[in-house]
Symmetry: C2
Subunit: 436 residues, 2 copies
């Protein structure tokens, strides 16, 4: 078998066999096939695509390049949620304990903030003492005793993805649906999840800006996950404005506590319930989405979800007392108000601009080696559709330092548009894609 023949075949739009995909990807990971052949293949895949079966084989091959989380001996079901990333998207934080409280285990491996999107690990680490780099034994214990655990990826999880992603990043081959699918799925399957709910964001603050692109990715995730024998659902959700009223690290922990106490922002509650309901259905803990939702609501109103969250914080080294003490008062000294420049209805608060402003403030980072600030971020007081008068406060921005505020505020002002007309209501859940 020769790599060049495999390239030729994909270039012609033909379907690669399992042996061909394994030959070229294994060869690449082992350093036997050079990166210049792989980058040409990736570009051919960009143009020609891959079938769900090819993508499933690619995903399995990538998975086999590293370790899978060993969940043996722990009774399932294991269901996880993956979001393609957004601004103010703290859904994982109330979702995991809520679903765990309903009897479905959530083995959650999360990422860090990069570019305009936030990161679950960074948010958790804003809790004093909280550790996200768990040993396997700790992760297993969390799953057994709390029903969920929160960790980062180790270097041994899907090394093929790290190598391929680094190459895609410099060869203009990131934006390929099958390659994105294999990258996402390989990491989720490596966690040991049997069922996965994908929250595919759509809009300015999302990786997929348009409905068509988001739909294509969602469909590919469902088709490929199904071809791999997993139970999967994809929910297309709006990311044209930030989720909730708080964007930041500790600020989003605060909003998480609100949600777990049943008083979170309407959009965050809604999405947490919807995704949670699907997770219960995929995990077999509910027959219908309605039943799943009712169980999730019960887990919140009974306090069971909140109690799971506290247990997790304690287990992972966090100081619950400190967290609660800082709640509502731990703020950066460098603050600035964002005010309405006209009278009217808020027509939009652009998620991408707010996310980019957040990078300046210290919520996120442009380079993986940069640090983030726990207290940086935005607290919004108005959202899309609210009526404002000129000079009304829309948000307060908190920066890591004084210098961060000017560029962040310029972006934040650009993010807001005010109209004389009330905007049409927006659907948070745009569409749901289930396996055939």
């Amino acid at each position: 078998m020769r790599a060049v023949d495999i390239l030729m075949k994909k270039r012609a739009g033909e379907t690669l066999t399992e042996a061909e995909i394994r030959f070229i990807i294994d060869g690449y990971v082992k350093g036997e096939i050079p990166d210049y052949q792989i980058s040409a293949l990736l570009m051919a895949i960009f143009f020609r695509g891959m079938t769900a079966k090819e993508t499933a084989i690619l995903t399995e091959t990538m998975l086999d390049s590293g370790d899978r989380m060993d969940l043996s001996g722990i009774p399932g079901p294991f269901v996880d949620k993956h979001s393609t990333g957004g601004v103010g998207d703290k859904i994982s934080l109330p979702l995991a304990p809520m679903v765990a409280a309903c009897g479905v285990k959530v083995p959650m491996m999360s990422g860090r903030a990069l570019g305009h999107t936030g990161g679950t690990l960074d948010k958790l680490e804003s809790i004093p003492g909280y550790r996200t780099g768990l040993e396997l034994s700790e992760f297993r214990k969390g799953l057994i005793e709390d029903g969920f655990a929160m960790t980062g990826q180790t270097a041994r999880v899907v090394p093929a993805d790290k190598k391929l992603y680094a190459l895609r990043d410099v060869t203009a081959t990131v934006e390929s649906i099958p390659l994105i699918t294999a990258s996402i799925l390989s990491k989720k399957v490596a966690e040991g999840a049997d069922g996965i709910v994908f929250d595919v964001k759509c809009g300015s603050g999302a990786f997929m800006k348009t409905y068509n692109d988001a739909k294509a990715l969602a469909s590919s995730l469902v088709a490929t996950g199904t071809a791999m024998g997993k139970r999967v659902v994809a929910v297309l959700t709006d990311m044209s404005q930030p989720l909730g009223y708080k964007v930041g690290n500790f600020l989003e922990i605060e909003e998480t506590l609100d949600c777990l106490e049943g008083k979170g922002p309407q959009d965050v509650m809604e999405l947490t319930f919807r995704l949670g309901a699907w997770m219960l259905v995929l995990g077999g803990a509910a027959e219908t989405i309605e039943e799943g939702r009712a169980r999730c609501e019960e887990a919140i109103s009974s306090g069971a979800a909140l109690e799971r969250f506290y247990r997790n914080v304690v287990r992972q080294g966090g100081n619950v007392g400190q967290m609660l003490k800082r709640r509502g008062s731990w703020r950066s000294d460098f603050a600035r108000e964002l005010k309405a420049e006209n009278d009217g209805y808020i027509e939009s608060i652009d998620a991408l601009d707010i996310g980019l402003a957040g990078v300046y403030l210290g919520v996120g980072r442009n380079r993986t080696e940069d640090n983030v600030s726990p207290t940086a971020g935005f607290i919004f007081e108005k959202k899309r559709g609210d009526l404002v008068k000129k000079g009304d406060r829309i948000a307060i921005a908190y920066g890591k330092d004084e210098a961060s505020l000017d560029p962040a505020m310029a972006l934040a002002r650009k993010a807001v548009s005010i109209s004389k007309e009330a905007p049409q209501p927006l659907s948070l859940v745009i569409e749901e894609i289930t396996a055939p």
Copy 2:
């Protein structure tokens, strides 16, 4: 400027600027841009193409990576012919002295046999003593005194093409019209030609097997050459059967002498006159193609072309006496007859099969480091359209050794098909493409 942004732009089907093309190609040649970005770009070009202007800029950039032949002080015009390669294609050998005899200078840089296609340098080197690796001073002297000279490329001619071609070869990006165009044109323009006639072969023995592919390449060569300010014509010619009756190295020198004496095979004479006529038109030595042809015929019938050929052989170290003594008798001891297996008309003698058989015999080579045999090859006695009886001799094959004959004969037998019906006559010149 970043390479990845240029890749992204080409991937999206946009037109690259001169600055972008120069940045990425110069960077590659200097080793500043890695091959994995170039191979992804080449694949994007395969799918998205390039405009004639982009291809012209690419060609100029490649040219600038090396030396151009210094023809300063030599009065022109300089016109060359380039063939995309075929079987039995010795046209360059009678063509260059014929055109030179008509007052148009031919600065010819040729290649070697590779795969099923023959090489002008290998044919010339079958003349005892003939040297094809000329110093610039020798090349210039040949042009001044004989009106033409025959040499190989040095390493300093278009090094960008050598580097790019090696990468294309292993990344399934050879078959891209703009990349083929830039590769061909850069080498011809480096020779110093003002006018170029392209013989774009079409059929089983050609690089471009189909009319559509050959037409696309011919059109691209003309459009790009014109955009570079050159006078160019492309002639699409048939390569479904070998040209002439002899396929080999010294065997083709013999047929060259026949042509220069005015008694060559009809197809070889026809194509030599046609391409020569165009060269005279491009060089301004004839007003019309008819006038050009008449001048070419005169150069043959007067013996002027033959005399130029002898002068060149002597200048380049060849022994004319030895050449003429060996003519018609220098044959390998390892010979085998190819006989008709049925009564009927020869419907076809497949050029690719004969070319591949020639590689076994020793006419050509599979790897650039292999040697070729001067006496190996085929002498055909019958061609397409001839009526044969079972057992009639169609050809004699000469091999470099006994072992070469069996596999070569198997291919040669496969090449021949005989039919009860006389085949339709075939047009040697299929189409001519001139600049608008």
